[in-house]
Amino acid sequence: MSASASAITVEGLGKRFGAVQAVDDVSFAVEPGEIFGFMGHNGAGKTTTLRMLLGLTQPTSGRAAVLGHDIVRATLEVRRVAGYLPASYALPPDMTAREFLQYVAAMFAIPPATARARGDALLRRFGLEDAADRKLRGFSTGMTQKVGLAQALINEPRVLLLDEPTAGLDPLGRHELLEHLRELAQQGVTIVFSSHILSDVETLCRRVAAMHHAKLIACGEIAALRREHGAATMDELYLTLVRRQAS
């Protein structure tokens, strides 16, 4: 696939924090409308890679682009077309869900009437209309995650970067979230789904990238990777890739 046709292109991206190489020479591409899995253990470099894509951390080597916008030179353009749900975050406790979505919409300079309509539609979509005017401090983990996803969608992003979005969710919450992500992909949204819950990655994604100790150790279609490495399950595939890397 040519670089210009990809929604996300990453070429030799690296990040060093002092003596620690957090991301080392990572390259991959994500096609438009694809749900791309990004798997690896905690600390493998997935979060740092996503943060670099949004300009929250500056790369020390390589380059990347989101929908053709360079992540260093056009950071604000990238953020305008992208939605992001971090792995670890909180919502402002004194705001209601509706107020928070309006607040985030204002950061995108979305007109108030449009922002209200989009906010209400997202709250309905995630089944939060009854809790829309409740303070966020009383929200459960699942409700918080839904508001987190709603804020990532308020700008109708064409690219969605999700960092461990199913962590902490109960089975029903996970199922609902994965369903929402499938719907979004069907609508043409490109999704990068970063997780160490491999069953979620397998359920949702056709292609994956696997990271281990800052390096990309595999990238391709899940089915092809499993065939190539003789792995019956995702867990087996990941362990095989990691062991091969270690040896």
Partner: protein, 255 residues
Amino acid sequence: MTRLLWLDYLAGLRERKTWIAAAMLVYAVLVIPLLLADPPPHVREAIAAWFADADPFAVFMFVWIDLVMNKVATFVPVILASGVVLRERDTGVLAVLAAKPLTLSRYFVVRTVSACAVMLTLYVGAQLLAALWFPGRVAGFRPGTFLAAMSLHAFAVLFATAFAATVSVAVGRRGAGALVALMLLGLMVGLALVGFYQPEWYEMTLVNPLTLGALSMRDLAHLGASTLLPPMLALAGLTAVTIALGSRVVRKVEV
């Protein structure tokens, strides 16, 4: 950015700390005339020594500006503004907001201007309440002069709010930042009226923004545009420079 500022201002008004600050101000307005009605002997002696010939309203204004509102200018801005950006970082809210198409510098400006607007709302509300409550309770009270003098002091309070926000992000930690801002504002307030006690130091004290805010004390009988506008403009300029400085310093904050 105007819409974001408005929403941030509304959110700021609803915060618990804002209501605590409002309660402090209302308490001050309601209680000071009662306390001054029968001050302790040592306070009466001090007032007599400093203002033997002054009209009772001038004495009251000295107490109101220096002993009450300057203390408000030390504490309330720190309460309202010292957590700007840092609180969002510490709680994890910034992890979400920093990924939006707004630089951290601009976000700091929005949060600080919004804190200034909340401060101004509380301050104006308190002075208007005072203008209604003081007549009849304060000897020789002149509402027009009172409001003119306090409108200048409001600019000093706005400066203090911007200053608290900037010092906090410069320090980089919420608790330590609030303490440093409190200490520096306390120092400025402590030195604000030195020029009144030591006239030969007067010009030197004009570098202190809190002195500029209390300049109306020099001649309460002749307050007008020519006496109020220059210090107001100077304070507005200092506030703008302080916010600009903070918007540069905040870039070092790790998201």
